[in-house]
Amino acid sequence: MWSLVLRRLLLTLPTLLGASLIVFAMVKLAPGDPISILMPPDAGKAEIEAVKEALGLDRPLPVQYLKWLERAVVHGDLGRSIATRRPVVQDVLDALRNSVILAVASSMLALIPGLALGTLAAFQRGGVVDKVVSAVAITGVSVPHYWAGIMLVIVFSVQLGWFPAMGGPSDPGIGPYIRHMLLPAVALALIPLGVITRVVRSAVLDILAQEFVLTLRVKGLYTGSLVRHVLKNASPQILTVMGLQFGFALGGSVLVETVFSWPGTGYLLNIAIFQRDMPLLQGIILVLSTTFVLLNLAVDVLQSLIDPRIVRG
């Protein structure tokens, strides 16, 4: 088993390196000169050269890349934000924490009803319940989550005043935190809810069609242990889609965070782009892509553990 993990880990290294290369290249390719943002417009040539040298921008590109990579990986130093002068790594990690919390919350809101509804629909195949659940699922998948966020704000903040419309938690304590988090989490959960419901329904249907299940049903082992049995067999598929949807929630939170001004990586990313704050932009994308590669790896390994028949790589 460990050889599997090791092997997968080794395979992800080129991906990580490639991702870092792209992050680096992307920023370099971007139009706009970072120097011109820092310097006043009437700065002399000598001054500009001095700043360039200080920032290491006069060295050849491959050298810049390696130095940047070394600083990031070995020293955990992602530079300083041009706008705020604070270390990037600190801001990014704080933002990541907020985004992860939001992603976990919305994933829970998607997974639990999704599992329940999908299983229910599969067991009641063809009936009214199945049709209703399928309709709900396809609606969920089609909703633009940022629009859903706005609608939720309209209904629950503006009209009803139950929940705050903006921002991260300003007051300490779990209560206010949850109150601020609820609407964005719901908005973010809609698409995953739809996807998970459909995948669970399809996976459970496949398993119900298998002969051994028929045997169990004939033996009278109904509900309870049957459901457990079925879910255990469906877990590889469900796990895969869970992993993907968690990735969606973590990465896709950008749009929802913008609507609610939730202080996560998405929100930070938005700021970085509009202020053309390169170090911050690079740092966010590097941290996020590393997180995702590791997340995919974890899902793969977990899958192989649960179902040894799946041999990857």
């Binding site: 050889s3 090791l6 092997r7 080794l10």
Partner: protein, 324 residues
């Protein structure tokens, strides 16, 4: 008459890769030194349990998989050194009917087109290929007007297998290898398909190599039989002789283990014990010794060669080396 095909010392091993770096740790010896001849016009049965290398043998003999060692001569020509062009021409003479009637048909191609395809790739135009496909459908007992435009999932397993046979025969081959042709079919349908195969063989002067794990099928259809165990031939001879008096302990056990409807033939205890051993590490000396009731010390050290017991009847067992 020289044999239509001779197989000489065929070897095929598959590497088994394990570990982080996918190093080859062991070799799976699917076919480990097999030699036999196929006479013109006969049906040669190849029998053995799962994992004995039957299917691999079929594919290696037809050069669908490259062998590691050995030769195959067909009609006097060396098959393994044939050029691409010559090989394509030879493929028309050497056909294979696959085991799974569903998987061997393109689900998105009509039955007629599936048969016609074989002619089209050898240069026929579509219209005449389709006409000949219809004739072939008729020859295997399917009305082309009813079945020609159907898709595989619309017909039964037996009908699909007839299409497979039609597809193989439309090229007018000389030798047809049939890999478990009836194993996936219901018993009632098996006899029909086997009879069809006999009729076609007679009408078109074909030669068959029939592979099966089912002794009834082998007995029913073969003229001569080869018994395979873990990639090696352990016994070979005329079908009737082998059925009546099998000499190799494995063959004896095979025939005795076949369940019978006759109450007087009820087994007290099945003669073959244990599971088939792992082809990754076959026993030393005689491979069958671990399940053989007659094993001796000699069987551990020395692998018995195929010895002639009576006319055309060979067995690989030390029991017959001591002038018995």
């Amino acid at each position: 008459m020289p044999p239509l095909m001779t197989v000489d010392g065929l070897v095929k091993h598959f590497p088994v890769r394990r570990g982080v770096f996918r190093r080859t740790t062991e070799m799976l010896r699917a076919v480990d030194g097999v030699s036999f001849a196929v006479e013109l016009g006969e049906t040669l049965g190849v029998v053995g349990e799962s994992g004995c290398g039957k299917s691999t043998l079929a594919r290696v003999v037809l050069r669908l998989v490259e062998a590691d060692a050995g030769h195959v001569r067909f009609g006097g020509e060396d098959l393994f050194t044939a050029s691409e062009r010559r090989l394509k021409r030879l493929r028309r003479d050497l056909q294979l009917v696959f085991q799974d009637p569903y998987a061997s048909l393109n689900p998105r191609m009509t039955l007629r087109d599936a048969i016609a395809f074989n002619l089209i790739i050898h240069g026929a135009d579509r219209a005449s290929a389709r006409r000949r496909a219809d004739d072939m459908l008729h020859d295997v007992g399917l009305d082309p007007r009813l079945f020609g435009a159907r898709y595989p999932h619309e017909v039964s397993g037996g009908q699909r297998q007839r299409v497979n046979i039609a597809r193989a025969l439309v090229l007018d081959p000389r030798l047809v290898v049939l890999d478990e042709p009836v194993s996936a079919l219901d018993k009632s349908v098996q006899a029909q398909v086997l009879n069809l195969l006999q009729q076609l063989k007679a009408a078109r002067q074909l030669t068959y190599v029939l592979i099966s794990h089912d002794l009834n099928v082998i007995e029913y259809a073969s003229d001569r039989v080869i018994v395979l165990y873990l990639g090696k031939i352990v016994e070979t001879g005329p079908a009737t002789v082998i059925a009546e008096s099998p000499k190799h302990p494995y063959t004896q056990a095979l025939f005795k283990s076949a369940p019978s409807m006759d109450p007087s033939q009820r087994l007290v205890a099945p003669p073959l014990t244990g599971d088939p051993p792992n082809p990754l590490s076959p026993p030393s000396g005689c491979r069958f010794r671990t399940r053989c009731p007659f094993a001796t010390a000699q069987c551990v050290d020395v692998e018995p060669p195929l010895r002639e017991i009576s006319s055309r009847h060979f067995a690989a067992c030390h029991l017959y080396s001591n002038a018995n």
